[in-house]
């Protein structure tokens, strides 16, 4: 086990040492040879002139040699560095690749390769610990959501069944029937809020991760036909300009929820005998409905922001829409002009 810096430094030091060791005999032999040559040439007698001449030669030779060794050293460093980086950082890139491909909902535990470099082995250990912690937290949250749904749905179903039974008992007065029906309505609302809260948790937990290419035009047409009962009941006019063959990528259930929530919103808050406009182009879905006053821009996508005794909704529909668009990196905008609420989804 060694540190990353030490490892590369060690190699450089060893290499420089090797170059140094190699250079010593080369220097020695070259200078001796030059010296001998000079001796022979000048019959040992060294004149001042010769000395000066020799000095130039020696200095020149030494400089040349030094340059050669320097070049050798540089070339060696570059090659070594390249090789070391490639080799040394291999475990890092492997870990990086694993993290990049990791999705918490796939529940596939990561196994990092063991590395003999201290930093990487520490990094891998910390990553493994972090991911294991996250998986546990995710599992616990999922279990909590599951349990919460069970714990709440069960008493809700008991109430529902008791109300259904109560409805069967006789004799019941007109007033009693109405009390039961009101209780039914309130119960339906609680049930819906519970379902939607669970849905929000599930989206935040990054469930529904799978993506497929969907025929957005068909999906919207389908949703509209599902709402037909409610549209005709309110005597609304539906002006739709849906471009066919618009495709979108995402999870089918989530996209359906998004479209349904926007449609429900428009239908619910539109006065009778007016019209709703829906248009779809390859990058924009726009739904608008008439209304008297603008909604509070900064509030509408927040949970329970619109819930009041006046609106029968759960106050979660638009929060869910926002959450789903965030997940796919889409933009959902609200605007109000000329007595028309408009929601635009840019994808």
């Amino acid at each position: 086990m060694s540190k990353l810096l030490h490892r590369s430094l060690k190699r450089f030091i060893i290499y420089s040492g090797l170059v140094l060791v190699c250079s010593i005999p080369v220097y020695y032999i070259t200078i001796s040879f030059l010296w001998q040559y000079e001796m022979d040439e000048h019959n040992i007698i060294l004149t001042d002139e010769a000395l000066r001449e020799d000095r130039f030669l020696i200095v020149g030779a030494v400089t040349l040699l030094t340059v050669i060794f320097f070049a050798l050293l540089m070339a060696g460093f570059i090659l070594l560095n390249r090789k070391i980086s490639h080799q040394l950082w291999q475990p890092f890139y492997k870990s990086l690749g694993q993290i990049r491909n990791f999705h918490i909902h796939h529940q596939r535990t990561l196994s990092f390769e063991s590395s003999d470099i201290e930093e990487f082995s520490e990094l891998n250990q910390s990553l493994a610990k972090l991911i294991a912690g996250n998986i546990t937290a995710y599992d616990q949250q999922k279990e909590f959501a599951d349990n919460a749904s069970h714990e709440l749905q069960t008493p809700l179903s008991i109430i529902q069944s008791k109300l259904d039974l109560l409805l069967q008992s006789k004799p019941l007065s007109d007033e009693q029937y109405h009390i039961i029906e009101d209780a039914h309505r309130a119960l339906a609302r609680v049930t819906r809020i519970n379902k939607n809260l669970l849905l929000l948790t599930n989206i935040e937990n990054s469930q529904f991760m799978d993506r497929e290419t969907l025929d957005f035009s068909g999906l919207i047409e389908n949703s509209i036909s599902q709402f037909n009962n409610f549209i005709t009941n309110k005597n609304l006019l539906l002006e739709d300009a849906i471009q066919p063959q618009v495709f979108i990528e995402g999870n089918k259930i989530l996209i359906e929820i998004l479209v349904n929530n926007l449609l429900t919103n428009a239908i619910r808050h539109t006065a009778e005998n007016t019209s709703i406009k829906i248009s779809l182009t390859p990058h924009l879905l726009s739904i608008s409905n008439p209304g008297p006053v603008a909604l509070r821009q900064e509030q509408i996508f927040r949970r329970f922001a619109t819930a009041s005794s006046l609106s029968p909704g759960t106050g979660l529909g638009l929060a869910i829409v926002k959450q789903i668009s965030n997940r796919y990196g889409w933009n959902i905008n609200y605007s109000f002009s000329d007595g028309l609420h408009t929601f635009q989804l840019l994808y």
């Binding site: 749905q153 379902k195 029968p312």
Partner: protein, 224 residues
């Protein structure tokens, strides 16, 4: 008709039991995994209502056990879990139907009725009631041998009423039955009126006696 209710919430199990306790159904109860295993080991049922989360074990294991024993009991899962995976897993493991809690007892009764009807198809593909005859295979309704043309929704409604005969069916239950998930986004069930009104009109014009009673604007009842 024998029905086994596997549900650990005694209150809910009893409500289901008393709703279903008319001449057709005999209900038995199991409140734990072990009790349920014992019952399915010894007896045969026309329909089993199965809760997935049980004390002592997972409901899916009961399904698997039924499968390995080669039993042909019809199974309807009644569960608080509403994730798609659970629904798919349940239906793939051999359940016939999946109902998410909370549900209307009238919806459950309709599902049980249709399950049992499917299981014994040969005998009961025609429902007869006095002058009214419903062929479930061809989906043709006749009154005194004269056919009554009904839309799909009206046919659905008629079956729903008949599977809950002599019971008060609330408007919200009908709305959910007809529109599924979409209905519970709205609190306004007025569109039900139209369908029921049309059904009533068509039946009476065909010469059918008025079995369908309206109750104080709250619900409806098929009385015989």
């Amino acid at each position: 008709m024998k029905i086994l209710i596997i549900e650990d919430e005694v209150d809910l199990a009893q409500s289901i039991g008393s709703y279903l306790a008319d001449e057709h159904y005999l209900c038995e109860y199991a409140v734990s995994f072990a009790a349920a295993m014992e019952k399915i080991d010894i007896y045969e049922y026309d329909c089993i209502l199965l809760d997935l989360m049980l004390p002592g074990g997972d409901g899916f294991r009961i399904l698997e056990e039924l499968k390995t024993q080669g039993k042909r009991d019809g199974v309807i899962i009644i569960s608080a879990k509403n994730s798609l995976e659970d629904k798919i897993k349940g239906l793939q493991t051999g359940a016939d139907d999946y109902l998410t809690k909370p549900f209307h007892l009238s919806e459950l009764a309709a599902r049980i009725y249709s399950l049992i009807r499917r299981k014994q198809f040969e005998n009961v593909n025609v429902i007869e009631q006095n002058e009214l005859k419903i062929n479930l295979l061809s989906k043709v309704v006749t009154v005194n041998e004269h056919p009554i043309p009904l839309t799909k929704k009206e046919f659905d409604l008629l079956l729903y009423f008949i599977s809950n005969k002599n019971k008060v069916v609330s408007k919200s239950a009908l709305a959910e039955h007809l529109s599924g998930e979409v209905a519970d986004m709205f609190d306004n069930y007025d569109f039900i009126y139209v369908h029921v009104k049309n059904l009533k009109k068509k039946l009476s014009e065909g010469g059918c006696e008025n079995y369908l009673k309206t109750l104080y604007g709250t619900g409806y009842k098929w009385e015989i």
